[in-house]
Amino acid sequence: MLLDWDYMLSKLPLIIEAIPRTLLMVLVSAMLGFVIGFVLALVRSYKVPVLSQLATAYISVFRGVPLLVQMYLVYFGLPELFGHLNETLGVALLPTEFNKMFIAILIFTLYTAAYQAEVWYSSLNAVDYQQMEAALSVGMTLPQALIRIFVPQALVSALPNFSNLFISLFKQTSLAFSIKVIDIMAVAKMEAGATYRYLEMYVLVALVYWVLIFGFERLFIHLEKYFSNQKKQQAVSSGQSGIAG
């Protein structure tokens, strides 16, 4: 036998136990990053003075620096920064100790928000500007036009990009072990170190990631198909009404 399957099966429950923690990190930071990315994209699209430059700088930095470096900086820097602020203010206002899960979600959110902002920005700008004029002319306010007309169209066209970012984020959360969050990677690493069966443990954790991420990939492909079909149907029905009229 090249691989000790019995050993791998016996360790599978340990890894499955840690899946909720990985999923929590991925889902929460993906959703928060989705919202923050949208706000950043709006700030950049409307060229809000000062804020727009800040958003551009933020996106450039968080896209240009490896995630692991960001993690170290936030994990070690944030308590130090807050401690320093407390000292200068003379009151213990800010916490200097954090839940590790909180820090992990914070970093992943900041990281993915920068990437999602780019996707939001290009997809919102790809929507035809005349649609805004049309929406405003029928009496919609700007937020209404954005939410009802622009966002749905941008989302459909950007879905493949968002799903790529989600998958990439999912994979990146495997770095959370470096700030001592016990996710599936951390469990595998500890077990492998304890029993010296690196091959089996890493094959096992790779398979678990493969199954999870492949599942999400299928889900996104399904959604993409659903939306493009809907679009086609709309095109057909509007074409028919055009003929009837």
Binding site: V65, L68, L73, K171, W210, F214
Partner: protein
């Protein structure tokens, strides 16, 4: 709070490791491109069995984290090869890291090359053979130049990703930028941790930004060229 003298000191101590990180990235990209080329050929010509195997391989590489792949190659591969009587324990950490990243990059590149090939319209092949070109001639003169134009932005973005992901290789003992940063902070008992990693982030950020700009410039130039050609036609 941040000691700027320490920051600048760390910066100069880290900079000599940048060539290693860059050459690592280039090696992984070259290896990945060669592998990706072969994989793409197998898939384009739909070689039975191998083609299906490659689909599974690409899916595995796409759906598992880079760090897992790295650990799998660094810790797992020697154990695996031991069992069939091959000893590779003597390989350097750097070799293992390049191997892991090259294998990952190969999967990505095979998809890039394949989709670039498929993106060139079939009529181009037909037109080339209509004027009497052989298949290889049409590839070299007609198809590949168009593939390059399609693939360059994607390959460039991948290069930036690989460059940033290469920060993981210090976890298997390669002393790259990150490895050097770790040595520096440990030698000072973590006092200069923030300064050191700020210097690291600056180096990574600067390189990715410059490369990103170059890529955007290249794209703009080629786009302009094609626009002019389209207008003439």
């Amino acid at each position: 709070m941040i000691n700027f003298a320490e920051l600048i000191d760390a910066f100069w101590k880290l900079l000599p490791k940048l060539p290693l990180t860059l050459s690592f990235t280039v090696l992984a990209l070259i290896g990945g491109t060669l592998l990706g080329f072969v994989l793409a050929l197998v898939r384009i010509f739909r070689v039975p069995v191998f083609s299906q195997l490659i689909v599974a391989y690409v899916s595995f590489m796409r759906c598992t984290p880079g760090i897992v792949q790295l650990f799998l190659i660094f810790y797992g591969l020697p154990q695996f090869l031991d069992k069939i009587g091959i000893d590779i324990h003597g390989w350097s950490n750097f070799t293992f890291a390049v191997l892991a990243f090259g294998l990952h990059c190969g999967a990505v590149m095979s998809e890039v090359i394949r989709s670039a090939y498929l993106a060139v319209p079939k009529s181009q092949h037909e037109a080339a053979s209509a004027v009497g070109m052989s298949y290889l001639q049409s590839l070299r003169r007609i198809i590949v130049p168009q593939m390059v134009r399609i693939a360059v932005p994607i390959v460039g973005n991948n290069a930036i990703t690989i460059f940033k992901e290469s920060s993981l290789v210090f976890t298997v003992g390669v002393v790259d930028l990150m490895g050097q940063a770790q040595i520096l902070t440990q030698s000072r008992y973590g006092v200069t941790l923030i300064e050191t990693y700020l210097a690291v982030s600056f180096i990574y950020w600067f390189c990715s930004m410059v490369f990103g700009r170059l890529l955007a410039y290249y794209q703009k130039r080629t786009e302009r060229k094609y626009k002019i050609m389209a207008r003439k036609a």
